[in-house]
Amino acid sequence: PTPTASADGGKKKFVVGYSQSNNAEPYRAQLNLQLQHFLERYPDIELLPIADAKQSSATQVSQVQNFITQKVDALIVSPTEPAPLTAAVQQACDAKIPVIILDRTVNTDCYTAFIGGDNVLIGRKAGEEAVKLLPDGGNIVELRGILSNQPQIDRDKGFREAIAANPKIKIIADREAKWVKEQATPIMQQWLAQHPKIDLVYGHNDPMALGAYLAAKAAGKAEQIKFIGIDGLAIPDGGIRAVQLGQLSATFIYPTGAQEAADTVNKILHGQPVDKQQVLGTTQVTKDNAADLYKQFDLSGQN
Protein backbone atom coordinates (compact mmCIF):
# COMPACT_ATOMS: atom_id res chain seq x y z
CA PRO A 1 0.00 0.00 0.00
CA THR A 2 0.98 3.59 -0.42
CA PRO A 3 0.65 6.18 2.30
CA THR A 4 -2.40 8.39 2.25
CA ALA A 5 -2.36 12.10 2.97
CA SER A 6 -2.42 12.74 6.65
CA ALA A 7 -4.36 15.31 8.55
CA ASP A 8 -1.36 17.49 9.30
CA GLY A 9 -0.79 17.85 5.57
CA GLY A 10 2.47 17.69 3.75
CA LYS A 11 4.11 14.36 4.39
CA LYS A 12 2.26 11.22 3.45
CA LYS A 13 1.51 8.87 6.30
CA PHE A 14 0.05 5.42 6.73
CA VAL A 15 -3.10 5.47 8.79
CA VAL A 16 -3.66 2.64 11.23
CA GLY A 17 -6.89 1.97 13.08
CA TYR A 18 -6.95 0.08 16.32
CA SER A 19 -9.94 -1.33 18.12
CA GLN A 20 -9.44 -2.42 21.68
CA SER A 21 -12.02 -4.55 23.44
CA ASN A 22 -11.92 -2.70 26.73
CA ASN A 23 -9.60 0.14 27.57
CA ALA A 24 -10.46 0.10 31.20
CA GLU A 25 -8.77 -3.20 31.99
CA PRO A 26 -5.33 -2.32 33.27
CA TYR A 27 -3.73 -4.95 31.07
CA ARG A 28 -5.32 -3.47 27.98
CA ALA A 29 -4.57 0.07 29.03
CA GLN A 30 -0.96 -1.00 29.27
CA LEU A 31 -1.15 -2.62 25.85
CA ASN A 32 -2.51 0.60 24.39
CA LEU A 33 0.19 2.64 26.00
CA GLN A 34 2.93 0.37 24.73
CA LEU A 35 1.54 0.19 21.25
CA GLN A 36 1.39 3.95 21.00
CA HIS A 37 4.91 4.08 22.33
CA PHE A 38 6.37 1.58 19.91
CA LEU A 39 4.54 2.99 16.91
CA GLU A 40 6.15 6.34 17.55
CA ARG A 41 9.33 4.85 16.27
CA TYR A 42 7.84 4.85 12.82
CA PRO A 43 7.29 8.43 11.74
CA ASP A 44 5.36 7.48 8.63
CA ILE A 45 2.68 5.64 10.59
CA GLU A 46 -0.19 7.50 12.14
CA LEU A 47 -2.27 5.66 14.73
CA LEU A 48 -5.83 6.91 14.88
CA PRO A 49 -7.21 7.40 18.37
CA ILE A 50 -7.83 3.99 19.88
CA ALA A 51 -11.42 2.82 19.62
CA ASP A 52 -12.70 1.31 22.84
CA ALA A 53 -15.40 -1.31 22.45
CA LYS A 54 -16.14 -1.23 26.17
CA GLN A 55 -16.52 -4.99 26.31
CA SER A 56 -19.25 -4.98 23.69
CA SER A 57 -18.76 -7.14 20.63
CA ALA A 58 -21.42 -5.23 18.74
CA THR A 59 -19.61 -1.98 19.38
CA GLN A 60 -16.37 -3.51 18.29
CA VAL A 61 -17.84 -4.85 15.07
CA SER A 62 -19.08 -1.41 14.15
CA GLN A 63 -15.74 0.09 15.08
CA VAL A 64 -14.01 -2.26 12.69
CA GLN A 65 -16.59 -1.37 10.09
CA ASN A 66 -15.95 2.31 10.75
CA PHE A 67 -12.28 1.82 10.08
CA ILE A 68 -13.09 -0.02 6.88
CA THR A 69 -15.31 2.89 5.91
CA GLN A 70 -12.45 5.25 6.60
CA LYS A 71 -10.19 3.11 4.42
CA VAL A 72 -7.39 2.79 6.93
CA ASP A 73 -4.15 1.30 5.65
CA ALA A 74 -3.98 -1.32 8.35
CA LEU A 75 -6.15 -2.49 11.16
CA ILE A 76 -5.26 -3.79 14.58
CA VAL A 77 -7.99 -5.57 16.50
CA SER A 78 -7.89 -6.87 20.00
CA PRO A 79 -11.17 -8.81 20.00
CA THR A 80 -13.61 -8.99 22.84
CA GLU A 81 -14.62 -12.49 21.86
CA PRO A 82 -13.42 -14.63 18.95
CA ALA A 83 -16.60 -15.43 17.10
CA PRO A 84 -18.34 -12.06 16.94
CA LEU A 85 -15.42 -10.31 15.31
CA THR A 86 -14.97 -12.97 12.69
CA ALA A 87 -17.32 -11.50 10.15
CA ALA A 88 -16.03 -7.99 10.61
CA VAL A 89 -12.45 -9.14 10.14
CA GLN A 90 -13.61 -10.98 7.05
CA GLN A 91 -15.08 -7.72 5.77
CA ALA A 92 -11.79 -5.93 6.33
CA CYS A 93 -10.00 -8.70 4.58
CA ASP A 94 -12.43 -8.45 1.66
CA ALA A 95 -11.72 -4.73 1.54
CA LYS A 96 -8.02 -5.63 1.21
CA ILE A 97 -7.09 -4.06 4.52
CA PRO A 98 -4.37 -5.96 6.36
CA VAL A 99 -5.53 -7.01 9.81
CA ILE A 100 -3.45 -7.80 12.85
CA ILE A 101 -5.26 -9.69 15.54
CA LEU A 102 -4.01 -9.13 19.04
CA ASP A 103 -4.43 -11.35 22.06
CA ARG A 104 -7.56 -13.29 21.17
CA THR A 105 -8.18 -15.19 17.96
CA VAL A 106 -10.94 -14.97 15.42
CA ASN A 107 -12.51 -17.85 13.57
CA THR A 108 -11.23 -17.06 10.12
CA ASP A 109 -7.91 -17.36 8.42
CA CYS A 110 -8.39 -14.16 6.56
CA TYR A 111 -6.07 -12.00 8.59
CA THR A 112 -2.46 -11.02 8.13
CA ALA A 113 -1.01 -11.78 11.51
CA PHE A 114 -2.00 -13.00 14.92
CA ILE A 115 0.06 -11.88 17.87
CA GLY A 116 -0.81 -13.08 21.29
CA GLY A 117 0.06 -14.95 24.38
CA ASP A 118 -0.72 -18.56 25.04
CA ASN A 119 -3.03 -18.78 28.00
CA VAL A 120 -2.85 -22.53 28.29
CA LEU A 121 0.91 -22.22 28.48
CA ILE A 122 0.69 -19.52 31.11
CA GLY A 123 -1.77 -21.57 33.12
CA ARG A 124 0.58 -24.50 32.90
CA LYS A 125 3.51 -22.40 34.11
CA ALA A 126 1.43 -21.17 37.00
CA GLY A 127 0.58 -24.77 37.80
CA GLU A 128 4.18 -25.79 37.68
CA GLU A 129 5.03 -23.00 40.06
CA ALA A 130 2.26 -24.19 42.37
CA VAL A 131 3.70 -27.68 42.31
CA LYS A 132 7.05 -26.23 43.18
CA LEU A 133 5.61 -24.15 46.02
CA LEU A 134 3.73 -27.10 47.49
CA PRO A 135 6.19 -29.96 47.42
CA ASP A 136 4.20 -31.87 50.04
CA GLY A 137 0.92 -31.25 48.34
CA GLY A 138 -1.77 -28.94 49.62
CA ASN A 139 -5.07 -27.20 49.12
CA ILE A 140 -5.56 -24.67 46.37
CA VAL A 141 -8.41 -22.25 45.80
CA GLU A 142 -8.92 -20.81 42.36
CA LEU A 143 -10.39 -17.41 41.50
CA ARG A 144 -11.71 -17.49 37.98
CA GLY A 145 -12.31 -14.78 35.45
CA ILE A 146 -15.69 -14.49 33.74
CA LEU A 147 -16.47 -18.14 33.13
CA SER A 148 -17.25 -17.84 29.47
CA ASN A 149 -14.07 -15.91 28.60
CA GLN A 150 -11.57 -17.96 26.62
CA PRO A 151 -8.54 -16.85 28.70
CA GLN A 152 -10.37 -18.05 31.80
CA ILE A 153 -10.95 -21.43 30.21
CA ASP A 154 -7.35 -21.72 29.03
CA ARG A 155 -5.73 -20.53 32.24
CA ASP A 156 -7.79 -23.04 34.17
CA LYS A 157 -7.01 -25.84 31.75
CA GLY A 158 -3.23 -25.34 31.75
CA PHE A 159 -3.13 -25.00 35.50
CA ARG A 160 -5.04 -28.21 36.13
CA GLU A 161 -2.85 -30.07 33.70
CA ALA A 162 0.27 -28.99 35.53
CA ILE A 163 -0.84 -29.67 39.08
CA ALA A 164 -1.87 -33.19 38.11
CA ALA A 165 1.83 -33.89 38.50
CA ASN A 166 1.32 -34.05 42.24
CA PRO A 167 -1.84 -35.91 43.25
CA LYS A 168 -1.59 -34.54 46.76
CA ILE A 169 -2.41 -31.10 45.42
CA LYS A 170 -6.13 -30.47 45.33
CA ILE A 171 -8.25 -27.58 44.16
CA ILE A 172 -10.71 -27.46 47.02
CA ALA A 173 -12.79 -24.53 45.79
CA ASP A 174 -13.15 -22.34 42.77
CA ARG A 175 -15.42 -19.42 42.00
CA GLU A 176 -15.98 -16.77 39.44
CA ALA A 177 -14.70 -13.39 40.58
CA LYS A 178 -15.11 -11.87 37.11
CA TRP A 179 -11.51 -10.58 36.93
CA VAL A 180 -12.41 -8.01 39.61
CA LYS A 181 -10.41 -7.39 42.76
CA GLU A 182 -13.37 -6.23 44.75
CA GLN A 183 -15.27 -9.44 44.05
CA ALA A 184 -12.35 -11.64 45.03
CA THR A 185 -12.05 -10.30 48.56
CA PRO A 186 -15.41 -11.44 49.97
CA ILE A 187 -15.10 -14.80 48.22
CA MET A 188 -11.75 -15.37 49.85
CA GLN A 189 -13.17 -14.30 53.18
CA GLN A 190 -15.79 -16.98 52.90
CA TRP A 191 -13.24 -19.59 51.90
CA LEU A 192 -11.13 -18.71 54.89
CA ALA A 193 -14.10 -19.26 57.12
CA GLN A 194 -14.94 -22.59 55.51
CA HIS A 195 -11.58 -24.17 54.91
CA PRO A 196 -9.15 -24.34 57.79
CA LYS A 197 -6.27 -25.17 55.48
CA ILE A 198 -5.69 -23.21 52.33
CA ASP A 199 -2.15 -23.34 51.02
CA LEU A 200 -2.29 -21.49 47.77
CA VAL A 201 -4.50 -19.08 45.90
CA TYR A 202 -4.45 -19.11 42.15
CA GLY A 203 -5.97 -16.00 40.63
CA HIS A 204 -6.57 -15.84 36.92
CA ASN A 205 -5.28 -12.31 37.08
CA ASP A 206 -3.27 -10.28 39.56
CA PRO A 207 -6.11 -8.10 40.85
CA MET A 208 -8.10 -11.17 41.91
CA ALA A 209 -5.05 -12.70 43.56
CA LEU A 210 -4.42 -9.41 45.34
CA GLY A 211 -8.05 -9.14 46.42
CA ALA A 212 -7.67 -12.57 48.01
CA TYR A 213 -4.41 -11.47 49.55
CA LEU A 214 -6.18 -8.57 51.26
CA ALA A 215 -8.70 -10.96 52.77
CA ALA A 216 -6.01 -13.38 53.94
CA LYS A 217 -3.92 -10.62 55.40
CA ALA A 218 -6.93 -9.38 57.35
CA ALA A 219 -7.45 -12.86 58.72
CA GLY A 220 -3.79 -13.05 59.67
CA LYS A 221 -3.18 -15.91 57.28
CA ALA A 222 -1.25 -14.15 54.54
CA GLU A 223 1.97 -15.67 55.70
CA GLN A 224 0.77 -19.27 55.50
CA ILE A 225 -0.75 -18.89 52.06
CA LYS A 226 0.98 -18.45 48.71
CA PHE A 227 -0.56 -16.31 46.02
CA ILE A 228 -0.08 -16.70 42.30
CA GLY A 229 -1.40 -14.26 39.75
CA ILE A 230 -1.17 -13.60 36.05
CA ASP A 231 -0.60 -10.42 34.00
CA GLY A 232 2.50 -8.90 35.61
CA LEU A 233 1.78 -5.30 34.70
CA ALA A 234 4.49 -2.74 35.27
CA ILE A 235 2.31 -0.18 36.97
CA PRO A 236 2.51 0.90 40.58
CA ASP A 237 -0.66 -1.04 41.38
CA GLY A 238 0.31 -4.03 39.25
CA GLY A 239 1.51 -7.58 39.74
CA ILE A 240 5.25 -6.99 39.39
CA ARG A 241 5.21 -4.58 42.30
CA ALA A 242 3.11 -7.04 44.27
CA VAL A 243 5.75 -9.70 43.77
CA GLN A 244 8.43 -7.24 44.81
CA LEU A 245 6.45 -6.50 47.96
CA GLY A 246 6.07 -10.18 48.67
CA GLN A 247 2.32 -10.13 48.33
CA LEU A 248 2.36 -12.51 45.41
CA SER A 249 4.74 -15.44 45.28
CA ALA A 250 4.83 -15.20 41.55
CA THR A 251 3.03 -13.76 38.60
CA PHE A 252 3.38 -14.44 34.93
CA ILE A 253 3.72 -11.71 32.41
CA TYR A 254 0.96 -11.93 29.93
CA PRO A 255 2.76 -10.40 27.00
CA THR A 256 1.04 -7.46 25.43
CA GLY A 257 2.64 -8.07 22.09
CA ALA A 258 2.70 -4.34 21.53
CA GLN A 259 6.24 -4.21 20.31
CA GLU A 260 5.71 -7.16 17.99
CA ALA A 261 2.50 -5.57 16.73
CA ALA A 262 4.24 -2.29 15.98
CA ASP A 263 7.02 -4.03 14.11
CA THR A 264 4.59 -6.21 12.22
CA VAL A 265 2.47 -3.25 11.15
CA ASN A 266 5.52 -1.51 9.90
CA LYS A 267 6.62 -4.52 7.91
CA ILE A 268 3.19 -5.05 6.42
CA LEU A 269 2.87 -1.44 5.35
CA HIS A 270 6.24 -1.59 3.69
CA GLY A 271 5.48 -4.81 1.94
CA GLN A 272 7.84 -6.97 3.96
CA PRO A 273 6.89 -10.54 4.90
CA VAL A 274 5.60 -11.27 8.39
CA ASP A 275 4.89 -14.41 10.39
CA LYS A 276 1.21 -15.13 10.44
CA GLN A 277 1.16 -16.76 13.87
CA GLN A 278 3.26 -15.04 16.48
CA VAL A 279 2.61 -16.79 19.74
CA LEU A 280 4.42 -15.11 22.55
CA GLY A 281 6.00 -16.73 25.54
CA THR A 282 5.66 -15.62 29.11
CA THR A 283 8.09 -14.54 31.75
CA GLN A 284 7.74 -15.61 35.33
CA VAL A 285 8.08 -12.71 37.70
CA THR A 286 9.88 -13.59 40.89
CA LYS A 287 11.28 -11.53 43.67
CA ASP A 288 14.66 -11.72 41.99
CA ASN A 289 13.81 -10.41 38.57
CA ALA A 290 10.88 -8.16 39.51
CA ALA A 291 12.81 -4.91 39.75
CA ASP A 292 14.44 -5.42 36.39
CA LEU A 293 11.24 -6.44 34.69
CA TYR A 294 9.47 -3.43 36.10
CA LYS A 295 12.08 -1.16 34.66
CA GLN A 296 11.93 -2.93 31.36
CA PHE A 297 8.18 -2.59 30.91
CA ASP A 298 7.56 0.67 32.76
CA LEU A 299 6.36 3.25 30.30
CA SER A 300 5.19 5.86 32.72
CA GLY A 301 8.16 8.09 32.07
CA GLN A 302 8.03 7.75 28.34
CA ASN A 303 4.62 9.08 27.39
Binding site: A51, D52, V61, S62, P84, L147, S148
Partner: protein
Protein backbone atom coordinates in the same frame (compact mmCIF):
# COMPACT_ATOMS: atom_id res chain seq x y z
CA UNK B 1 -56.49 38.33 16.46
CA UNK B 2 -59.31 36.48 14.83
CA UNK B 3 -60.17 32.96 15.78
CA UNK B 4 -59.12 31.84 12.37
CA UNK B 5 -55.62 33.21 12.55
CA UNK B 6 -55.28 31.85 16.04
CA UNK B 7 -56.17 28.38 14.84
CA UNK B 8 -53.75 28.56 11.98
CA UNK B 9 -50.98 29.66 14.25
CA UNK B 10 -51.75 26.92 16.69
CA UNK B 11 -51.61 24.36 13.90
CA UNK B 12 -48.27 25.71 12.68
CA UNK B 13 -46.90 25.62 16.17
CA UNK B 14 -48.01 22.07 16.68
CA UNK B 15 -46.49 20.95 13.38
CA UNK B 16 -43.29 22.64 14.43
CA UNK B 17 -43.59 20.93 17.76
CA UNK B 18 -43.86 17.60 16.03
CA UNK B 19 -40.81 18.28 13.87
CA UNK B 20 -39.02 19.37 16.96
CA UNK B 21 -39.14 15.84 18.27
CA UNK B 22 -36.47 15.08 15.72
CA UNK B 23 -34.13 17.94 16.51
CA UNK B 24 -31.82 15.72 18.48
CA UNK B 25 -31.53 13.37 15.55
CA UNK B 26 -31.09 16.21 13.08
CA UNK B 27 -28.33 17.57 15.26
CA UNK B 28 -26.47 14.27 15.25
CA UNK B 29 -26.97 13.89 11.51
CA UNK B 30 -25.76 17.43 10.94
CA UNK B 31 -22.60 16.84 12.91
CA UNK B 32 -22.03 13.61 11.03
CA UNK B 33 -22.48 15.23 7.66
CA UNK B 34 -20.48 18.30 8.57
CA UNK B 35 -17.52 16.30 9.79
CA UNK B 36 -17.54 13.23 7.61
CA UNK B 37 -19.86 14.04 4.73
CA UNK B 38 -20.21 11.23 2.24
CA UNK B 39 -18.43 8.72 4.37
CA UNK B 40 -21.01 9.19 7.07
CA UNK B 41 -23.96 9.22 4.71
CA UNK B 42 -22.87 6.21 2.72
CA UNK B 43 -25.29 3.34 2.67
CA UNK B 44 -22.65 1.01 4.06
CA UNK B 45 -21.91 3.22 7.00
CA UNK B 46 -25.52 3.82 7.92
CA UNK B 47 -26.35 0.15 7.51
CA UNK B 48 -23.42 -0.82 9.68
CA UNK B 49 -24.31 1.72 12.32
CA UNK B 50 -27.97 0.85 12.51
CA UNK B 51 -27.26 -2.85 12.13
CA UNK B 52 -25.05 -2.79 15.19
CA UNK B 53 -27.88 -1.38 17.24
CA UNK B 54 -30.74 -3.27 15.62
CA UNK B 55 -31.12 -5.96 18.24
CA UNK B 56 -31.09 -3.36 21.01
CA UNK B 57 -33.53 -1.30 18.95
CA UNK B 58 -35.91 -4.24 18.84
CA UNK B 59 -35.60 -4.62 22.60
CA UNK B 60 -36.36 -0.91 22.87
CA UNK B 61 -39.68 -1.40 21.11
CA UNK B 62 -40.71 -4.05 23.61
CA UNK B 63 -39.49 -1.97 26.49
CA UNK B 64 -41.48 0.97 25.17
CA UNK B 65 -44.67 -1.07 25.43
CA UNK B 66 -43.87 -1.90 29.02
CA UNK B 67 -42.90 1.67 29.85
CA UNK B 68 -46.15 2.91 28.34
CA UNK B 69 -48.07 0.90 30.91
CA UNK B 70 -45.95 2.44 33.65
CA UNK B 71 -43.70 -0.57 34.15
CA UNK B 72 -40.11 -1.27 33.32
CA UNK B 73 -38.40 -4.32 31.87
CA UNK B 74 -34.82 -4.89 32.95
CA UNK B 75 -34.75 -8.49 31.80
CA UNK B 76 -34.69 -7.95 28.04
CA UNK B 77 -30.91 -8.16 27.84
CA UNK B 78 -30.91 -11.54 29.56
CA UNK B 79 -33.86 -12.71 27.46
CA UNK B 80 -32.00 -11.75 24.32
CA UNK B 81 -29.08 -13.68 25.69
CA UNK B 82 -30.98 -16.88 26.29
CA UNK B 83 -32.75 -16.58 22.96
CA UNK B 84 -29.47 -16.14 21.15
CA UNK B 85 -28.16 -19.20 22.99
CA UNK B 86 -31.29 -21.11 22.05
CA UNK B 87 -30.81 -20.14 18.44
CA UNK B 88 -27.19 -21.21 18.40
CA UNK B 89 -27.95 -24.52 20.07
CA UNK B 90 -30.90 -25.26 17.79
CA UNK B 91 -28.59 -24.65 14.91
CA UNK B 92 -25.57 -26.52 16.16
CA UNK B 93 -27.22 -29.42 17.95
CA UNK B 94 -30.45 -29.92 16.08
CA UNK B 95 -29.59 -28.37 12.73
CA UNK B 96 -32.94 -26.65 12.60
CA UNK B 97 -33.76 -24.32 9.76
CA UNK B 98 -33.68 -20.59 10.49
CA UNK B 99 -37.42 -20.28 9.98
CA UNK B 100 -37.93 -22.91 12.67
CA UNK B 101 -35.49 -21.27 15.02
CA UNK B 102 -37.12 -17.85 15.09
CA UNK B 103 -40.52 -18.97 16.43
CA UNK B 104 -38.86 -21.15 19.03
CA UNK B 105 -36.75 -18.25 20.25
CA UNK B 106 -39.78 -15.99 20.30
CA UNK B 107 -41.65 -18.56 22.36
CA UNK B 108 -38.79 -18.81 24.82
CA UNK B 109 -38.70 -15.03 25.19
CA UNK B 110 -42.47 -14.81 25.46
CA UNK B 111 -42.50 -17.47 28.16
CA UNK B 112 -40.17 -15.54 30.44
CA UNK B 113 -41.89 -12.31 29.50
CA UNK B 114 -45.16 -13.86 30.55
CA UNK B 115 -43.66 -14.70 33.93
CA UNK B 116 -42.59 -11.08 34.26
CA UNK B 117 -46.12 -9.99 33.51
CA UNK B 118 -47.62 -12.51 35.89
CA UNK B 119 -45.33 -11.37 38.69
CA UNK B 120 -46.24 -7.76 38.04
CA UNK B 121 -49.97 -8.18 37.50
CA UNK B 122 -50.86 -11.13 39.72
CA UNK B 123 -48.35 -10.96 42.52
CA UNK B 124 -48.37 -7.19 42.14
CA UNK B 125 -44.64 -6.79 42.69
CA UNK B 126 -43.06 -3.71 41.17
CA UNK B 127 -41.91 -4.61 37.71
CA UNK B 128 -38.47 -3.28 38.54
CA UNK B 129 -38.05 -6.07 41.10
CA UNK B 130 -39.64 -8.83 39.03
CA UNK B 131 -37.62 -8.09 35.94
CA UNK B 132 -34.41 -7.52 37.87
CA UNK B 133 -34.88 -10.95 39.40
CA UNK B 134 -35.65 -12.34 35.95
CA UNK B 135 -32.48 -10.73 34.62
CA UNK B 136 -30.53 -12.72 37.17
CA UNK B 137 -32.46 -15.97 36.86
CA UNK B 138 -32.38 -16.10 33.09
CA UNK B 139 -28.71 -15.19 32.94
CA UNK B 140 -28.00 -18.02 35.35
CA UNK B 141 -29.99 -20.46 33.22
CA UNK B 142 -28.32 -19.22 30.06
CA UNK B 143 -24.90 -19.80 31.54
CA UNK B 144 -25.93 -23.15 32.90
CA UNK B 145 -27.33 -24.59 29.66
CA UNK B 146 -24.33 -23.35 27.71
CA UNK B 147 -21.91 -24.54 30.34
CA UNK B 148 -20.36 -21.08 30.19
CA UNK B 149 -19.03 -21.70 26.75
CA UNK B 150 -20.02 -19.61 23.80
CA UNK B 151 -21.63 -21.55 20.99
CA UNK B 152 -20.68 -20.72 17.45
CA UNK B 153 -23.21 -20.56 14.66
CA UNK B 154 -20.83 -21.16 11.82
CA UNK B 155 -21.38 -24.88 11.79
CA UNK B 156 -19.40 -26.70 9.19
CA UNK B 157 -20.37 -30.02 7.69
CA UNK B 158 -18.05 -32.93 7.03
CA UNK B 159 -16.94 -31.21 3.85
CA UNK B 160 -15.58 -28.28 5.80
CA UNK B 161 -18.22 -26.02 4.31
CA UNK B 162 -20.93 -24.30 6.31
CA UNK B 163 -24.03 -26.44 6.62
CA UNK B 164 -26.97 -25.11 4.60
CA UNK B 165 -28.71 -24.14 7.82
CA UNK B 166 -25.67 -22.26 9.09
CA UNK B 167 -25.27 -20.64 5.70
CA UNK B 168 -28.87 -19.47 5.80
CA UNK B 169 -28.61 -18.44 9.42
CA UNK B 170 -25.96 -15.90 8.48
CA UNK B 171 -28.64 -13.91 6.71
CA UNK B 172 -30.00 -13.02 10.13
CA UNK B 173 -27.25 -10.52 10.52
CA UNK B 174 -23.73 -11.77 10.06
CA UNK B 175 -22.04 -8.67 8.67
CA UNK B 176 -21.64 -8.89 4.93
CA UNK B 177 -24.61 -11.18 4.42
CA UNK B 178 -27.56 -9.44 2.88
CA UNK B 179 -30.97 -10.51 1.73
CA UNK B 180 -31.23 -10.28 -2.05
CA UNK B 181 -27.64 -9.11 -1.93
CA UNK B 182 -28.71 -5.73 -0.66
CA UNK B 183 -30.93 -5.69 2.39
CA UNK B 184 -29.29 -6.12 5.75
CA UNK B 185 -31.74 -8.20 7.73
CA UNK B 186 -31.22 -6.64 11.21
CA UNK B 187 -32.03 -3.20 9.85
CA UNK B 188 -35.05 -4.54 8.01
CA UNK B 189 -36.22 -6.46 11.06
CA UNK B 190 -35.86 -3.42 13.28
CA UNK B 191 -37.83 -1.25 10.88
CA UNK B 192 -40.55 -3.86 10.44
CA UNK B 193 -40.88 -4.30 14.18
CA UNK B 194 -41.17 -0.54 14.58
CA UNK B 195 -43.83 -0.28 11.90
CA UNK B 196 -45.85 -3.19 13.23
CA UNK B 197 -45.84 -1.94 16.80
CA UNK B 198 -46.45 1.62 15.73
CA UNK B 199 -49.59 0.41 13.99
CA UNK B 200 -50.60 -1.72 16.96
CA UNK B 201 -50.23 1.20 19.32
CA UNK B 202 -51.95 3.77 17.17
CA UNK B 203 -54.58 1.79 15.34
CA UNK B 204 -55.83 -0.94 17.62
CA UNK B 205 -57.88 -1.30 20.73
CA UNK B 206 -54.97 -2.98 22.44
CA UNK B 207 -52.84 0.08 21.74
CA UNK B 208 -55.37 2.40 23.33
CA UNK B 209 -55.55 0.13 26.34
CA UNK B 210 -51.79 0.19 26.74
CA UNK B 211 -51.84 3.98 26.93
CA UNK B 212 -54.84 3.96 29.24
CA UNK B 213 -53.27 1.51 31.68
CA UNK B 214 -50.18 3.67 31.87
CA UNK B 215 -51.95 7.00 31.90
CA UNK B 216 -54.54 6.23 34.55
CA UNK B 217 -54.93 2.62 35.63
CA UNK B 218 -57.98 3.33 37.73
CA UNK B 219 -59.76 5.02 34.87
CA UNK B 220 -58.77 2.19 32.60
CA UNK B 221 -60.13 -0.40 35.00
CA UNK B 222 -63.36 1.47 35.54
CA UNK B 223 -63.78 1.74 31.78
CA UNK B 224 -63.71 -2.01 31.52
CA UNK B 225 -60.12 -2.36 30.38
CA UNK B 226 -58.63 -5.61 31.62
CA UNK B 227 -55.60 -4.05 33.25
CA UNK B 228 -54.17 -7.40 34.30
CA UNK B 229 -54.40 -8.81 30.80
CA UNK B 230 -52.86 -5.72 29.23
CA UNK B 231 -50.00 -5.77 31.72
CA UNK B 232 -49.28 -9.42 31.12
CA UNK B 233 -49.54 -8.87 27.38
CA UNK B 234 -46.99 -6.08 27.21
CA UNK B 235 -44.44 -8.03 29.21
CA UNK B 236 -45.05 -11.08 27.08
CA UNK B 237 -44.64 -9.05 23.92
CA UNK B 238 -41.49 -7.48 25.26
CA UNK B 239 -40.12 -10.92 26.01
CA UNK B 240 -41.21 -12.14 22.61
CA UNK B 241 -39.38 -9.31 20.90
CA UNK B 242 -36.28 -10.05 22.94
CA UNK B 243 -36.64 -13.62 21.75
CA UNK B 244 -36.94 -12.37 18.19
CA UNK B 245 -33.79 -10.31 18.60
CA UNK B 246 -31.87 -13.31 19.91
CA UNK B 247 -31.11 -14.98 16.56
CA UNK B 248 -30.15 -11.60 15.11
CA UNK B 249 -27.63 -11.10 17.84
CA UNK B 250 -26.34 -14.65 17.44
CA UNK B 251 -25.95 -14.20 13.70
CA UNK B 252 -24.35 -10.80 14.15
CA UNK B 253 -21.71 -12.27 16.45
CA UNK B 254 -21.66 -15.59 14.63
CA UNK B 255 -21.98 -17.09 18.08
CA UNK B 256 -24.03 -17.01 21.22
CA UNK B 257 -22.03 -15.85 24.16
CA UNK B 258 -23.38 -16.70 27.63
CA UNK B 259 -22.90 -13.01 28.41
CA UNK B 260 -24.67 -11.80 25.28
CA UNK B 261 -27.10 -8.98 25.77
CA UNK B 262 -25.64 -7.95 29.08
CA UNK B 263 -26.67 -4.36 29.89
CA UNK B 264 -28.59 -4.06 26.63
CA UNK B 265 -31.59 -3.19 28.75
CA UNK B 266 -30.04 0.15 29.63
CA UNK B 267 -29.54 1.01 25.97
CA UNK B 268 -33.07 -0.09 25.19
CA UNK B 269 -34.60 1.95 27.98
CA UNK B 270 -32.40 4.90 27.08
CA UNK B 271 -33.64 4.79 23.47
CA UNK B 272 -37.24 4.83 24.64
CA UNK B 273 -36.72 7.60 27.15
CA UNK B 274 -34.66 9.77 24.83
CA UNK B 275 -37.48 9.31 22.36
CA UNK B 276 -39.86 10.90 24.82
CA UNK B 277 -41.33 7.97 26.71
CA UNK B 278 -42.13 8.80 30.30
CA UNK B 279 -41.22 6.25 32.93
CA UNK B 280 -44.38 7.30 34.72
CA UNK B 281 -46.34 5.62 31.95
CA UNK B 282 -48.91 6.69 29.40
CA UNK B 283 -46.56 8.82 27.33
CA UNK B 284 -44.33 7.74 24.48
CA UNK B 285 -44.42 6.51 20.91
CA UNK B 286 -42.65 3.95 18.79
CA UNK B 287 -41.59 6.71 16.43
CA UNK B 288 -39.95 8.40 19.39
CA UNK B 289 -38.19 5.22 20.40
CA UNK B 290 -37.00 4.74 16.83
CA UNK B 291 -35.61 8.26 16.83
CA UNK B 292 -34.04 7.67 20.23
CA UNK B 293 -32.37 4.51 18.97
CA UNK B 294 -31.06 6.32 15.91
CA UNK B 295 -29.67 9.12 18.04
CA UNK B 296 -27.81 6.67 20.22
CA UNK B 297 -26.33 4.59 17.43
CA UNK B 298 -25.53 7.42 15.04
CA UNK B 299 -23.93 9.38 17.85
CA UNK B 300 -21.64 6.43 18.50
CA UNK B 301 -20.97 6.23 14.81
CA UNK B 302 -20.18 9.92 14.37
CA UNK B 303 -17.90 9.99 17.37
CA UNK B 304 -16.20 6.84 16.16
CA UNK B 305 -15.74 8.13 12.63
CA UNK B 306 -14.25 11.29 14.04
CA UNK B 307 -11.91 9.19 16.08
CA UNK B 308 -12.80 10.91 19.31
CA UNK B 309 -10.90 9.25 22.12
CA UNK B 310 -13.10 6.83 23.94
CA UNK B 311 -12.96 8.49 27.31
CA UNK B 312 -14.12 11.70 25.76
CA UNK B 313 -16.70 9.74 23.82
CA UNK B 314 -18.32 8.79 27.08
CA UNK B 315 -18.34 12.40 28.17
CA UNK B 316 -19.58 13.81 24.89
CA UNK B 317 -22.20 11.12 24.48
CA UNK B 318 -23.67 11.90 27.86
CA UNK B 319 -23.74 15.60 27.13
CA UNK B 320 -25.29 15.22 23.68
CA UNK B 321 -28.00 12.96 24.99
CA UNK B 322 -28.99 15.64 27.47
CA UNK B 323 -28.90 18.34 24.82
CA UNK B 324 -30.96 16.21 22.45
CA UNK B 325 -33.57 15.55 25.09
CA UNK B 326 -33.77 19.22 26.01
CA UNK B 327 -34.12 20.29 22.40
CA UNK B 328 -36.81 17.71 21.82
CA UNK B 329 -39.05 18.88 24.62
CA UNK B 330 -42.43 19.77 23.17
CA UNK B 331 -42.61 22.82 25.39
CA UNK B 332 -39.15 24.08 24.57
CA UNK B 333 -40.28 27.48 23.37
CA UNK B 334 -42.61 28.25 26.20
CA UNK B 335 -40.08 26.82 28.59
CA UNK B 336 -37.39 29.24 27.62
CA UNK B 337 -39.79 32.10 27.59
CA UNK B 338 -39.72 31.46 31.30
CA UNK B 339 -43.12 29.89 31.70
CA UNK B 340 -44.39 29.00 35.11
CA UNK B 341 -43.26 25.80 36.70
CA UNK B 342 -45.74 23.23 37.73
Amino acid sequence: MTLHADNRMRRTLSALGAAQAYIGLVLVLAVGIATKGEMFLSETNLTNAIGAFASRGILAVGVTLVILTGGIDLSVGSLLGIASMTAAMMLSEHALEPWQIVPICMAVGAFFGFLNGAGTAWLRIQSFVVTLAMLSVVRGLDRQVSDNVSVGTQITGPDGQLTPQAEAFQLFGTPGHNLFGRIYYPVLAFIVVCVVFHLILTKTRFGRHVYAVGGNPTAARLSGVNVTAVTIAVFTLSGMLAGFAGPIDAAYSASADPQAGQSFELDAIAAAVIGGASLAGGKGTIVGTFVGALILTLLDNVLGLNAVSDNWQLVIKGLIVVVAVVLQRPDLFTFFRGGSRS
